[in-house]
Assembly symmetry: D2
Amino acid sequence: MPITSSLAKSSPAATPSGLNEARGCMQVLYSAVRSETLKRASPLSAEDQCLQSMPDASPTKWHLAHTSWFFEAMLLRPYLPGYRPFDERYFYLFNSYYDALGARLARAERGLISRPSLDEVHAYRRRIDNDMAQLMEQSDASLWQRICPLIMLGLNHEQQHQELLLTDIVHALWRNPLRPAYLAPADQSPLPKGHAREPRWMDFPGGLAPIGHEAGGEDLFAFDNETPRHTVLLQPYRLCDRLLTCGEYAEFIDDGGYAQPRFWLSDGWAMVQQQGWRAPIYWSRPDGAREPEDWRVYGLNGSLPLAASEPVTNLSFYEAAAYAEWAGARLPTEFEWEAAAADPRIDQACGHAWQWTRSSYDPYPGFRPTPGATGEYNGKFMVGQMVLRGSSLATPSGHARTTYRNFFPPAARWQFAGVRLAKDGKS
Amino acid sequence: MPITSSLAKSSPAATPSGLNEARGCMQVLYSAVRSETLKRASPLSAEDQCLQSMPDASPTKWHLAHTSWFFEAMLLRPYLPGYRPFDERYFYLFNSYYDALGARLARAERGLISRPSLDEVHAYRRRIDNDMAQLMEQSDASLWQRICPLIMLGLNHEQQHQELLLTDIVHALWRNPLRPAYLAPADQSPLPKGHAREPRWMDFPGGLAPIGHEAGGEDLFAFDNETPRHTVLLQPYRLCDRLLTCGEYAEFIDDGGYAQPRFWLSDGWAMVQQQGWRAPIYWSRPDGAREPEDWRVYGLNGSLPLAASEPVTNLSFYEAAAYAEWAGARLPTEFEWEAAAADPRIDQACGHAWQWTRSSYDPYPGFRPTPGATGEYNGKFMVGQMVLRGSSLATPSGHARTTYRNFFPPAARWQFAGVRLAKDGKS
Amino acid sequence: MPITSSLAKSSPAATPSGLNEARGCMQVLYSAVRSETLKRASPLSAEDQCLQSMPDASPTKWHLAHTSWFFEAMLLRPYLPGYRPFDERYFYLFNSYYDALGARLARAERGLISRPSLDEVHAYRRRIDNDMAQLMEQSDASLWQRICPLIMLGLNHEQQHQELLLTDIVHALWRNPLRPAYLAPADQSPLPKGHAREPRWMDFPGGLAPIGHEAGGEDLFAFDNETPRHTVLLQPYRLCDRLLTCGEYAEFIDDGGYAQPRFWLSDGWAMVQQQGWRAPIYWSRPDGAREPEDWRVYGLNGSLPLAASEPVTNLSFYEAAAYAEWAGARLPTEFEWEAAAADPRIDQACGHAWQWTRSSYDPYPGFRPTPGATGEYNGKFMVGQMVLRGSSLATPSGHARTTYRNFFPPAARWQFAGVRLAKDGKS
Amino acid sequence: MPITSSLAKSSPAATPSGLNEARGCMQVLYSAVRSETLKRASPLSAEDQCLQSMPDASPTKWHLAHTSWFFEAMLLRPYLPGYRPFDERYFYLFNSYYDALGARLARAERGLISRPSLDEVHAYRRRIDNDMAQLMEQSDASLWQRICPLIMLGLNHEQQHQELLLTDIVHALWRNPLRPAYLAPADQSPLPKGHAREPRWMDFPGGLAPIGHEAGGEDLFAFDNETPRHTVLLQPYRLCDRLLTCGEYAEFIDDGGYAQPRFWLSDGWAMVQQQGWRAPIYWSRPDGAREPEDWRVYGLNGSLPLAASEPVTNLSFYEAAAYAEWAGARLPTEFEWEAAAADPRIDQACGHAWQWTRSSYDPYPGFRPTPGATGEYNGKFMVGQMVLRGSSLATPSGHARTTYRNFFPPAARWQFAGVRLAKDGKS
């Protein structure tokens, strides 16, 4: 994303022109990110955008409003002199989980917000955009130093919600028995046929590896959970050079993968039994059908025949780990993944499917959350979740990087999350 | 409703003109009822009409579709030659609870149906109306004999959903923290002030009383649960000549009514404790406020100051019975109510608030459900519910009658249900 | 029970010898009832007596203590001068549901009371018995008038718990995969074989019928819910002259009774689906077995082959009503049952199985609970329950009468509750 | 534990006398461990031993039986020729979670097992002990090689249940409103008074640290989750030289620790709100009391005044982490803990309270579960749990070691789990 490079190279503190350049770059970036959100919502009706299909997922309209609220709460209220809120009550409605910013609507109730209407939420977004433009315009070098990281955070935050907007609406539309598609397939081009090429195992020697975001490095922005950069000692390991495919996962199912506890972690097996898991959440076969080619898979383009060569997605960590066990392999740790991600032998590192790792989401040594309300962004979730690395087909362009730590609870199935297998290497 | 009188007096079987007259009356009635449903939905946006706030309540859009489905399922599919469904899948989506008519969408999932869109549901309604017009037009005297009672059932069914449409949307909008109004108050005329006149106790001697719908009587239509007409022996009793008011109910609250188990049935007291009931569902007072005039009451016109002289509504049976106990009175039985309803000394019998009775919803002696799918209309709910009599401000014009048996579970609070007190008489 | 006749005929107020006679009779009765409770507990170990298998059921030990607590709370504390409690904390532990008597252990926690030990509870019972003997001994005619009805209530209360003791322990032992028997079959005499005689339909003309307990009548004691005696108008009806048998119920199962919603009340069908009901709670067949003779039925004597000619028990109201619907009959109302109970043509009215009626448990006209804490005995449960009439094999001798109103929620399955069929008569 | 040293030094494979010596040592060890279990149960009545207060906790009697089942399932059935089970059904009743060994009683139902009686369970234990003696006696050197590690596993397994036996019964007796003590305080010696000495911060330089059990090292036995031994790179850190005390924790409470979300992980704060946490599970203060000295703490000796200088126990991970946040410190990682545990500057490493670490329970690099059913011992729980290090007052003598990895879900509060604080060091 060249604009972020320009932004990185600009010197707002040094000269007025540097400040102007930085402001200009940021305005371009801001507009690009904000319009992408609307673009993702555009195939959906106002009714669609009001749906909440489970407490973990939010209505599209709520995503539109909450991402605007973030700029209001973190930037406009603290830094724009004379700021007048669009609607005071939105501060309550569209707070997600920031305890420092007061009470908020319960998560499971977001689907009850038919009002404000979608039109009003669009008006809210426009007001926030105007006020943000004014804030950027007015800021001097000193203020810019303070707000620039927050704007970057707000934009990256919005990009995260762009992905959630898609995963959430796919879940909601899938709950509709008509199984409507978010977007009809663009053309009549046939789905990819046949199986993927054989995977290859790539050896990595282990040893000391730098992990985490490097301040002043290539990536202008990183979340606090990617810091501090530190060194980790790795054992030799092997990584599969491509992602696990739907066709491969279908073999696991047909070999009784969901019927044999020995492949599963204890909590995973409990889910299989309690929830009646028999296949990935969006897979279905007609009653009585038993062939791999009978599978249909629901996704952004509705229900389609299983494409055997495509990366499998929408797995929980439990399913990912059970597959690995069945295959005589394991999931990589997040450190193994990061140390190998830039290796040219590794395909599909980003842009296809998030990759569950065998690492719990623990803080890095020396981690401290950023001060203030933004400190609630990551740190307080560091328990009970697993790290995913890479990025998916739904991740906005420019958002991924090799140090990125995505995280979800191990039972979460509605993300575009798949598998890259690993094995111990020879020491 | 003069049209039903005309309908009652027409003789479709005897002469062609009688048949024509009957058809014409029915068409007028059909149009009037169907358009009232749309009128009630008209203040609501498509987003509003998609909301489901609890499993017991349905989205407005679902009411629009289900009432049409009823005509499709009971009349068009069985009786219109060459009938072609608008959409086969609607048969699954908009069945409410008719097991004889196959599988259906789970009740709690109705709020997930963003598609079909509201526009599509409107188109569905129009198709049903056209096809119903065709069916009525085409029917000969013999067919008319069969379909006429079913059309009447369909229209009365739709009227019930007209009331539910309002009670359900009030609940849904009340769940929105912005507390939007279904309909803003029509004018700036002040709310009624002051307290209601003192209630009077009217004596009734009891004795043998005919109960239930009289075939061939004044009311052209009745539900099967109002039959067979039979005689009941009543003890002497007294009825209050008006409904319980909000002001009177506020005294119960301020006397500790929700804090003392001795007024409550055991199941009611369990609800008070588990659900934290402190007042009727839609009543609220600011923290720390303790005066009766501090109450605000949410309803069709949003949140308004308590009108002390108005009938209290939105009580559960448990609250109604607890009030009566506190007041040294009791609720009337449904038979006491019916035997007195036409007495001119009794005010507010209909049109203000449904009146909880002390009668469980049991079948009348000799009751048999109507054969076929319509037999599921009433009979299968005859356990675990209490009878309400009268009708409410939300009941459509022409729908109420003195033999009408409404019923809800004793914990239901979202109906316009209030109290008429009774006492034992002197024998 | 001759002793109650003597008690009824004694004149404690008139003469000292009358008082002595009354005291003596009551002492005999008291001892008989109290020892029966211990007798019923005697086959059980201390471990068994501590079990609670669901919130609705109580441990045997708790029954032993609570029945003693009742005498303490209603008689000793108010009436025995200088009464010193055995243990103040028992007042909290062994209160069942009397709000007027203060806080109490939550119902679902009764199984956690390993202490007091069974030995301590036995000691508590002995202390209560001694103190009750002293109270009866000391009372003069005036006090006797007050305590005599309360002692009678306490003894009838204890008899109710004698039945619950059995139904509760059967449920608890059934939950043990070893399926131990409360009592091994007494001898090796074979179970009754073959089917019951054909049932006969007995006609009753209906008309005005006196219902409820008659003060001064044959039955010395009745609960307040059996009063006031009043007249009910009945339509002509028919009653089956014997109870429904296990063999007959097995036909319903094998005809798909649990698979077809049309036989079931709506709430009943919901239970069938949610709870996976396929047969009465205590019936089981080996996997794959499909013959009626494959059924085994668990009960007081453990798991035994189904005895086709025996009355079916442990049905819920929903199952009872579904059977009746399947059989083209119905359940009787409680009034039909009572009006016919003394008719010599009616077999098995008492002593075999409680008989579900089609009557909700509503108050009789003019019903008022007794004043004080004993008023919580019956009245506050008069919603959401169905009336059962007759009595069962587990009902203590002398406890049943034709006006007796037993009641349970319609889903309750752990009682010895069966079916007597009814039909409408010809008017 | 000298016996294990002898065992370690014996050479069963080399010489007959070596085998004899090994057998003898093991018999002594076996008897010592097995009798300790009975000793811990001995203060409890049969009724106490039947209690289950939550699904996570098991009845004492179940612990007695399950630990015997372990020897039966892992040793006697596979290795003792002609082994005849005491009762085939126990194999179902007393399996805990070994899927490879077939179906089992649901965890939450263990409290319903009044039969087998405690006496029968004692008899079962004796039979297992006799058969185990026979197995050890009969084994030749080759068999000994196979069974010796399994016996060691069985004994360490039993020691884990010895601790659980105590934590489970404390929870069960605490649920009894009488709050009976497992064991009355041994004497009248006063509780420790006053506050603990000031804690000191000990510096550790970090660097490469060996982690995990060393085969052939000092500890004869370790669980598979402590392997493989590997090297970890640590940053400099500081550890508190003693455990957190009750007095210190009381300051956190009185400073509003349970009222301010900013100290809590998100899932922890959700528990505080949903469960109404206001203090550690076993702490209570009379209504209105607000002083630290008003606290009473329930434990093995019943309810006692808070001893301010004693280590706090029975914290969840959430509470431990919230305290650390409040105190401006953090919890140590399990690697920091292990690397420092043998340092003489560190007090109370073992024998007082398990110490929550900031490490999720992930597998060590290269970890593989042991083959067969014993492989389910640890590996399948490696998700959703946090590691605890050290040992507690309830841990049996000889069971703890510095590489030991205990683990519980972050919300678990019924263990003797406390806190040792850590901080980042200076690099």
